[in-house]
Assembly symmetry: C2
Homo-oligomer: 372 residues x 2
């Protein structure tokens, strides 16, 4: 019997009714992690709390590794840069809220079998690097360049396809000035941790995480649309397996609550005592600025507008919101709902697709308020 | 109908045959995380990759918080210290491998329903702080002090019991010189991240993680054995619910492999090509130094001794081991087995208890070696 690459991969599938999380999903959940929701209180997510999703292994890049970033393809002057060479280019720092395209997947019915995120696959960091448009100008893109392909050093197999992780952006996104795509080398003013892409990663403000290629070693200008696995097989919005599907791109609006009170260790139920409590959380959108957050304390029956903090100049980062509430004994379901300047808002019923992508269903936080 | 604290908690239970991971276990897995096994290559676990397990919420301690650590109880001179006051005491840095007492739980049959760890709940860091024995001497412990109770700021409910997280150590462990228990304020030379206990935590070299109380605000000398929830209800080795059970204390020997080759994204199967490969990993024990690691490449049928790196003076940290192997096409199961100076080794059949604690069953890493 032959031993072939295809033997490592199983077909994509949906979980059956009531099917619990399986060993493959658990193995992903044990290594990847979300943002513990109480830490939404921090403007900038502290080290180690930002969500992490890696498709394959985290590359081992000890000090002294001879890392090169190639800028090539349809350019007049191909570049080969060491990470230290980037210091010679302009330095930009941008605060960005990053969210995994699969956030919310494990709450879908039926559940696509993959990384089983609840709602916490998000984080906000300040990324420092060189604007991609500067590197593209330095390499001098030829007129026929229509897309830019980014290649990471992470290597694996997915649905039988062996690959280095690769994603592309249209030229007008890659070379745009606002938002500016970065080739980042620092996170929150410190060297990038291994799991976030050390030594170099792409940052694409406003886009879901799959676009922010980590362990970046190649930037290739191409003259036709890229058809790699992560562009055309994965990260598409499909109802049926045979649909070509729309691509996953920008982050849909979402608000999350800091769950009030305290948790039960095992059930994760929230408990609080009667009296006034300030509900708070964050809201973001990769499409247009968040302009409104509404809060419900009765499982979505009624909504009241929350106090949204004024914009602080960080267009691509989440905004804080607050809402006063008086807890009374009983069981309650709390929710928050973000709306952006273009009128996009969060659905109250799940926006289902086979990959479980770009699902911004409103969060539900059940709480138990004790008797006096 | 009343709304009582007990309503938030369900009784402890075992999963049924074939029962998948449930929503409560998934909520724990989404916020807590293990060490991605490929990062066992790092001597010191990089920021954000060290395993994290928090029972309740991570306390929010922004700059300027008036944090106090009380040292009281059966002492002659009670202390109340700000974190900055600790700089006046001797400063010690110790490299420590920390492992969660529940590591390996999700692989048990039947599976205790709790944080569903596979094998990656481990990490190694350098902790800097003040020896606990110095603080106890400063406070002048009275002769009747038999145990020291440590109180964290993390608050929640567990099996119906509302609590701040608390654990105790016998006086002879708390005041010992080797290993020295630390009240730590720095991790790897940097301020402690929130999820690891900022601003202060206990470090008890050689003990499972439950002893290393985070967000430490109280050190209380008591004159009788502590009977708090985490000491007498949780963290006991029980076969049946009614057993009093032995307490969980020191870390049992364990070796882990860096899985060779590359992964399939979804199945997490490992794939490699034929030829020589150096198997490597780490081994540790909280009981006595690891003196031997054996490796099997045939699912435990035969074992060969691995090359164990010489001790480098870090007694309480893991040691690296390596073993040459030539992969041939086919399916293989790789394992490593640590043995310590007292002859303790890892079982080949699971050491089951109801809490899923201190389970050091040998790891099994299935790999697929492709045809040439």
């Amino acid at each position: 019997m032959g031993h072939r690459l295809a033997d490592a991969s199983a077909p994509a599938r949906l979980a059956g009714p009531g099917e619990g999380i399986g060993p493959d999903e658990l193995a992903l959940a044990a290594r990847n992690h979300g943002l513990p929701l109480e830490t939404l209180r921090h403007d900038l997510t502290p080290p180690g709390l930002h969500y992490v999703l890696t498709h394959y292994d985290i590359p081992y890049v000890p000090d002294g590794t001879a890392w090169r970033l190639a800028v090539d393809g349809r350019v007049r002057r191909p570049l080969s840069l060491a990470p230290a060479d980037l210091a010679a280019f302009p330095r930009v720092t941008t605060r960005v809220t990053l969210e995994c395209a699969g956030n919310g997947r494990a709450l879908l019915e039926p559940r696509p079998v993959s990384q089983p995120w609840l709602v916490e696959a998000v984080g906000t960091a300040e990324w420092t690097g060189v604007p991609l448009r500067v590197l593209l100008a330095e390499a001098s893109v030829r007129a026929e360049g229509v897309e830019v392909v980014f290649t990471g050093a992470d290597h694996g197999v997915e649905r039988g396809v062996e690959q280095d992780y690769q994603r592309a952006l249209p030229m007008e996104v890659a070379a745009r000035e606002d938002p500016e795509v970065l080739v980042a080398y620092a996170m929150n003013g410190a060297p990038m941790p291994p799991q976030h892409g050390y030594p170099l990663r792409l940052i694409v403000p406003g886009w879901y995480g799959m676009a922010h290629v980590k362990w970046l070693r190649g930037i290739t200008v191409v003259d036709e649309p890229f058809t790699g696995f992560q562009q055309t097989a994965a990260y598409r919005l499909r109802r049926r397996p045979e649909d070509p599907g729309e691509p996953v791109t920008r982050i849909a609006p979402r608000a999350l609550l800091v769950p009030p009170g305290f948790p039960d260790f095992m059930s994760r139920s929230r408990v609080l005592r009667p009296g006034p409590v300030t509900l708070e959380g964050r809201a973001w959108s990769g499409c247009a600025p968040v302009t409104r957050v509404d809060v419900s304390t009765d499982a979505g029956a009624t909504w009241r507008e929350a106090d949204l903090e004024p914009g602080d100049g960080h267009r691509w980062a989440w905004r804080r919101w607050r809402h006063p509430w008086t807890a009374v004994p009983g069981e309650h379901v709390l929710s928050a709902r973000a709306t952006d300047a273009d009128g996009r808002t969060q659905p109250l019923r799940q926006p289902w697709n086979r990959g479980g992508f770009a699902n911004n269903l409103v969060q539900r936080v059940p709480v138990l308020c004790l008797d006096e």
